[in-house]
Amino acid sequence: MSTTQALLALILLASLLLQAFLPARRLVVVTAGAGLAALASALLGTATAPQLLADVPWDVIVILVTLGLLSQLFVESRVFGVLALWATRWSRAQPRRVLLLFTVGMYVVSGLVNNLTALLLVLPILLILFKLLGVRQRYVSWTLALVLVACNLGGAATPIGDFPAILLLGRGAMSFDAYLVRAAPATLVALGVLLTLAMILVRPGRQLHEHPVSARLTLATMGALYRNVRVEKSRLLPPAAFLGAMLVAWVVVPLESGVTADLVAWLGTAAALVAVGSLGERIVRTQVDVEATLFLLSLFIMVGAVKRSGLFTEVARWLQGLPIPPLAQLCVFLVAAGLLTGIFSAGPSMAALLEVAERLAQQHPPEAVYVGLALSVCAGSSLFLTAATSGPLAQALTERADLRSPSGEVLRFGFLDFLPVGVMSFCVIQCVALAWGIWAS
């Protein structure tokens, strides 16, 4: 490793570690890191700042921003509140059913909207249900943790659910339908295994005494809170119609036509925003996720600087030079991806590891590498509460809700409360990723 490579890698690693340990300062940390990486790159003659900026995959950022805006249009239609009420009714306010329905519901929702939006929509309703049902620590820990893992799995199930898959789509590594038909069944298998293990072995609700008065009060109160809330069709139809059109375009329109995935997202979202009139303007002005955009832009610059130094190529060569069969090399790569994601979180890991994955994809079937990588990143995101941005958000929302057990003890949802579910989820999803990689090779 040359001095240039070591210095640029050090800036990247230091920034990633610092942002992981100081989540409250993560935006300042990564933007400062990106500035330093650009400076070091220029002084060491690797690349100028304009060259690094030109290397940024703007198409990925366009997809992220536009899908975020489309998510907000769905939020404004109130469709998720109505769905939550239905889920509560279907659950008959039984804790076991609440866990199952909200976990599966989160999987579905996060496949369509980004994870943070999905969490902000679903979690407050779940916390209200906890208060109405009168739950205990064990149930809270397992339910919230499984919902978070389902959020990660749903994000990995579709090419538009979360950043790793969007990166694959945006870079043209995999087409929309090619990713969907492979990743969705794999994530469903992982979710099924996790829920089966949780419901049969762990049984989070076993200490709860289901009381008919509790169930009746829960259903009556939820019904009253949403008594007149209706889906606003005029707000739901435009984003639904244009999302449908975008899905068709992603599947049908060939990349060679020049109509790329980001362009489809851009045009589809713009049309949906125009269709809802002044609401569209308000959403564009106020709802762009600047934090996520700036965070990813900074990451891309730091990763781009390291890439220009040739380090990723050398790592890929080293991996391919390991004295083990090629399939074992792929397995090593996938497990390393999972563990690195657990420490650095999904965005940084995926941005850096994709460079290595592209080399491996020359040796293995691309779908084995890319889908395996997306699943491994999902496994890593589920390992620790801090590994995905949705974790700290769930922690903050739970603290703010001031949840209490029926006997009055404060109910927490912190790092250690999540850990048992995180370890179990990591093992299950990583096994699915490895099985997928081996099977598809």
Binding site: R78, G81, P124, I128, K131, L132, L133, G134, H209, H211, P212, V213, S214, R216, L217, T218, A220, T221, A224, L225, Y226, R227, N228, V229, R230, A401, D402, R404, S405, P406, S407
Partner: protein, 214 residues
């Protein structure tokens, strides 16, 4: 003998923030009564009555034979005749539902988003399909005028006094009172409260233009 589940205090606070004290109390009393009958309502009153005096009063009225809340808004509508703006201080959801269903569309309506409880105001307002605008203590005076009405919910009238939410006292200083055409109170309880009126403040009933009995 009825045994209610533990943790009802927390559950009631969820309901009281977004439905109002009387409406949440009525909902809980009705639900418990459907499962456990009179014994259940008495147990509910014992469990939560001291913390929530409005629930105590509603449960007592239920045990005395009263059933559904009386939410007929006819008298309030008459008092709002000709008003162009109506600002509501405090929340009693089922009463407000009944009022909004019959309030002429030309009357703009606002709700003061201020509560001692944790409230998702967006969810509260989404039940009114955009007919009610949110206002806060700093901004609600922009709704004042010679055709503007201030309305709050009162909890029992005993002698010359009644009880209201503290937000009413904060909102209706001497400077504000003169800016509105009338200050109305909609008494949602059939009888005065029996236990100490926690969460509420006592005000002179004569300080309102009218106090209407539900």
């Amino acid at each position: 003998m009825s045994t209610l589940p533990e943790g009802l205090h927390q559950a009631f606070i969820v309901a009281v923030g977004e439905l109002g004290m009387a409406c949440a109390a009525s909902l809980f009393v009705e639900s418990v009564a459907q499962e456990d009958g009179t014994d259940g309502v008495a147990a509910l009153r014992d469990a939560l009555g001291r913390s929530f005096p409005v629930l105590d009063a509603v449960a007592e009225q239920w045990l005395a034979g009263a059933r559904a809340l009386r939410t007929d808004p006819t008298a309030i509508l008459a008092a709002c005749e000709g008003a162009s703006e109506l600002v509501v201080v405090g929340l009693e959801a089922f009463f407000l539902d009944a009022l909004m269903a019959r309030l002429p569309p030309r009357t703009r309506c606002a709700l003061l988003c201020h509560s001692p409880f944790d409230v998702d105001w967006e969810r509260v307002l989404s039940n009114y399909s955009g007919r009610i605008s949110p206002v806060n203590l700093e901004s609600f005076q922009s709704w004042a005028g010679p055709r503007s009405v201030l309305l709050t919910f009162a909890y029992g009238v005993g002698g010359s006094s009644t009880h209201v939410l503290p937000a009413w006292v904060r909102a209706t200083g001497e400077d504000v009172r003169m800016q509105f055409r009338s200050l109305l109170a909609w008494n949602v309880l059939q009888a005065p409260m029996f236990v100490y009126p926690r969460w509420l403040v006592e005000v002179d009933a004569a300080s309102f233009t009218h106090v209407f009995q539900a």
